[in-house]
């Protein structure tokens, strides 16, 4: 419509000028007003809750309870009382949860990205041909084991050993008779599809599993669990980065005598660095914010920040909004910083590659 106007009206009135772009790469002033207006509106919508959190953390209880006040130094006098409370009185609890969060998120991310990118690389370079029948057999063995343990209360270690033994005995025989195989694409789909699994389905048995090996309320339980739920994302994203790296590089490296590990670590990974960084940060954020798994798997020693934040509500004198605001700010500060770092990668459209599928 805009361009039609240009053609049909050689004379440009003031009104027209508002609705016509000066050139094809610029917007008409009216469009610009609307575009900037909407963008600024949305920026306000995004930032206002954060602003409100920030000023709430500096309010006295009276300032919160007596109805809204908006501007520090004008509406109310900012006070550091909630900050002091957190950093002085509840110092130990907060610090413990914070350190737990950092340890768990970092280690889970490292584990997840390492395992995930190895698998992603392998799926992009090596042809796997798992036999369909073997997989069915394996799942059947696991089901049988679960039923035996659940239904008749047989010791799980014993039944696991028996199930695996049965599997290995039968696997060869089955493999000889049924030849249908799956490809890399199927494995990839299987790994990615794990993300569909709602955590609530798996979390109770995971809980019981960690309990039976006495790992509840430890870092390692949460690290493993977080790594698993985020593994599909790593495999997915990294697979797509590796696919863009030409296979010639691998081949020439291997001709030069490098092992697959060396090729992977010294040649492919450095090339995939931007993707690796973006994936790592994404997983790190997801681990940092994880709530449900932590709720199940931690009691006291390994409590993470989200649990601490959720527990703030339990004050029997109403939610202490000011303290709540402080804890949330403390918790989101590192990830918002990360967002600033991450945006460099996003602007290059790196995440896009994966989504394009």
């Amino acid at each position: 419509m805009i361009t039609q106007n240009i053609r049909m009206s050689p004379r440009r009135s003031l009104l027209r000028r508002w609705f016509e772009p000066k050139s094809i790469k610029k917007m008409a002033p009216a469009t610009a007003v609307i575009v900037y207006g909407l963008l600024i509106l949305w920026a306000v919508f995004v930032l206002f809750p954060l602003y409100w959190l920030l000023i709430t953390s500096f309010k006295l209880p009276a300032d919160v309870n007596a109805g809204p006040v908006y501007l520090p130094w004008i509406d109310f006098t900012p006070s550091l009382h909630a900050w002091r409370e957190l950093f002085v009185f509840d110092y130990e609890d907060t610090l413990r949860a914070y350190i737990n969060s950092i340890i768990i998120a970092l280690l889970a991310t490292v584990l997840c990205v390492t395992i995930g990118s190895m698998a992603a690389y392998a799926l992009g370079r090596i042809q796997y041909k798992p036999k369909f029948a073997t997989i069915v057999l394996f799942v059947l063995c696991l089901v049988a084991m679960a039923v035996v343990v659940g239904r008749w209360g047989v010791d799980w270690r014993l039944s696991l050993a028996v199930a695996l033994a049965v599997f290995f005995v039968l696997a060869r025989a089955v493999g000889r008779h049924f030849k249908a195989t799956l490809g890399n694409g199927d494995i990839l789909f299987w790994m990615i599809s794990q993300r569909i699994l709602p955590p609530i389905v798996a979390v109770i048995p995971i809980y019981m599993m960690f309990q039976s090996v006495r790992l509840l309320d430890t870092h390692i339980a949460q690290i493993l669990a977080y790594a698993v739920v985020n593994l599909p994302i790593v495999v997915w994203l990294m697979h797509d980065f590796f696919v863009t790296i030409p296979t010639d590089l691998d081949e020439s490296a291997q001709l030069d005598g490098a092992t697959r590990f060396t090729t992977f670590v010294e040649i492919i990974l450095p090339l995939a660095k931007p993707g690796l960084a973006a994936t790592t940060l994404l997983v790190l954020i997801l681990c940092w914010n994880e709530y449900l798994l932590s709720l199940f798997l931690s009691t006291s020693n390994a409590q993470t920040m989200p649990i601490l934040v959720a527990a703030m509500n339990a004050g029997e004198r109403g939610i202490l909004w000011w303290s709540m605001a402080v804890v949330i700010i403390v918790m989101i500060f590192p990830v918002v910083l990360m967002a600033l770092v991450l945006q460099r990668f996003i602007s290059r459209g790196i995440l896009l590659g994966a989504v394009k599928g």
């Binding site: 309870n65 309990q211 309320d217 409590q303 004050g315 939610i319």
Partner: protein
């Protein structure tokens, strides 16, 4: 080794108490529990937990035992403790939790029997603890498993200044309550120029609303004394809930909302207390906390303006044969006062400490000593006068002795009124005990709470709600085993046959 430890430790405890005083010198002697760590789990926040931490530091100073307090959200506390102990994780030595959960823990064999510990304890003055808490709350099946740190039952609070000013009497029944609420609703009660509310009652789902509904229902259901029980028929374990009495309680609870704040459905007890302490409510239901909270910083608006009275009674009670409400008479309501049947409900039963049966002996003893220390009059008589601790009176000496209360800021009149309401409740032979059988969390926290929430949201009628509660309860009973549940229910009410 085991026996020696058991015999020696109480002796050492005595020595420790003295050593605690003596050890304050510079060359502190080896303390009795040096190297022992007692890990306690309870709910988060200043309430309950913070005082444990503070007293824990004193205790460490005295005995050398390190007290670590882990805090988990209240809604997760029940199962966290149960799973930690039942699965053998044993990361927790002492739980401070609702006394009504104890039967399930005891049934699963998780709690240490404290009877011997109490017998050897010279400082706890067990007979000073009010009979209801001593006999019903701390014991399961006649054995002491718990040490009380907080006494809980609900009362009705009213703004004495406003009622006096308007010439209204404190309500005794729900009709009177509604009359007062209607008269005060929309008036400015705290002088800030905005209209305030006639009645404040927490109604949020998955919070405390089911305690309020039980408090309301108790007087309609229970007439024959504590051992009658208000939840099940002890003979058949059939729920006593699908009847006019509970339906009436549901309706009353909803009607209170007409005089309450607009978003009351999303208010938990914290939100309600914030309103009460800022003077915005003429009437409110709460545990004993409002009294001391009015003395804390932040309670200035209602300081010495709050009156307390025993939970509302009723002139009509349940006829169990027909499920209808009938008028009170001398045989039906033997404990009635002026024809009104009261049944103060020990909602929640109070926070109590129990010890993990699997804990190390020395840790058990240290844990017990710490609970005892919390419970002893020297400490608890101070703690119960401080609002933010969440601790409410449970000892006779706390009720008879006005001095600490006046020191804490009450006028004599207010102290008498507040403690009088508590005494009236505790001395009522018809006090209603909270449900204390396995599955309590599910009976109340899931089924009752959910049906109540649906009724309040207008999804179903009161009659449908109580019918649903009955079906839900029957299902839980079946799952846990009817006979087993029946015996435990009887035991919890002290019925032995």
């Amino acid at each position: 080794m085991y026996h020696v430890g058991k015999v020696l430790s109480p002796l050492l405890l005595g020595a420790m108490a003295m050593a605690g005083v003596a050890a304050s010198g510079p060359a502190a002697a080896q303390k009795m529990y040096d190297g022992v760590t007692v890990r306690i789990m309870t709910r988060p926040g200043p309430v309950i937990a913070q005082r444990l931490v503070e007293r824990g530091k004193e205790f460490t100073e005295m005995t050398g035992a390190k007290i670590e307090v882990a805090e988990v959200p209240f809604a997760e506390l029940f199962q966290k403790l149960l799973t930690d102990w039942a699965t053998g994780t044993n990361s927790i030595d002492v739980g401070v939790f609702a006394s009504s959960w104890a039967p399930e823990y005891v049934d699963a064999g998780l709690l240490q029997d404290l009877t011997d510990y109490v017998a050897k304890d010279t400082k706890i003055e067990i007979n000073d603890i009010a009979p209801f808490f001593r006999e019903y709350n701390q014991k399961v099946g006649g054995k002491t498993y718990l040490i009380t740190v907080d006494g809980d039952f609900q009362m009705v609070y009213y703004r004495k200044d406003i009622l006096d000013q308007m010439g209204l009497k404190p309500p005794r029944t729900w009709d009177e309550y509604h009359a007062v609420a209607a008269a005060t609703d929309g008036k400015d009660l705290n002088g800030d120029g905005t209209p305030d509310f006639g009645s404040c009652m927490f109604k949020k789902r998955n919070a405390q609303s089911y305690f309020a509904i039980m408090s309301i229902a108790a007087a309609y259901v229970q007439t024959q004394g504590t051992s009658e029980g208000m939840f099940f028929d002890p003979a058949t374990m059939k729920p006593l809930v699908n009847n006019e009495a509970w339906a009436e309680a549901f309706k009353i609870y909803k009607k209170n909302g007409e005089y309450g704040p607009p978003d009351e459905l999303n208010h938990d007890i914290g939100d309600t207390r914030a309103l009460v302490t800022t003077g915005r409510c003429a009437l409110a239901i709460d545990w004993g906390d409002i009294g001391p909270l009015s003395l804390d910083p932040g309670g200035e608006a209602i300081k010495n303006k709050m009156g307390a009275t025993v939970m509302m009674g009723t002139k009509k009670v349940l006829d169990k044969a027909t499920g209808k409400l009938v008028d009170c008479d001398a045989t039906r309501c033997p404990h009635a006062i002026d024809g009104i049947n009261y049944s103060p409900f020990a909602a929640f039963g109070g926070w109590t400490g129990g010890i993990n049966a699997k804990a190390d002996d020395k840790v058990k003893q240290a844990g017990y000593d710490f609970l005892s220390y919390m419970n002893q009059a020297a400490q608890s008589n101070v703690d119960v006068t401080i609002g933010w601790t969440g601790y409410n009176p449970y000892r006779n000496s706390q009720l008879d002795n006005l001095e600490p209360w006046i020191k804490a800021g009450f006028t004599e009149e207010s102290a008498k009124n507040y403690l009088g309401a508590i005494k009236d409740s505790l001395n009522n032979p018809n006090m209603a005990s909270d449900l204390k059988i396995p599955g309590t969390a599910e009976y109340q926290g899931v089924v009752l709470d959910r049906e109540l929430a649906r009724f309040l949201a207008g999804e179903i009628t009161a009659e449908e709600a109580v019918a649903n509660v009955e079906t839900g309860w029957e299902e839980i009973t079946e799952r846990f085993g009817r006979d087993e549940q029946k015996n435990l229910y009887k035991a919890s009410l002290g019925i032995t046959n």
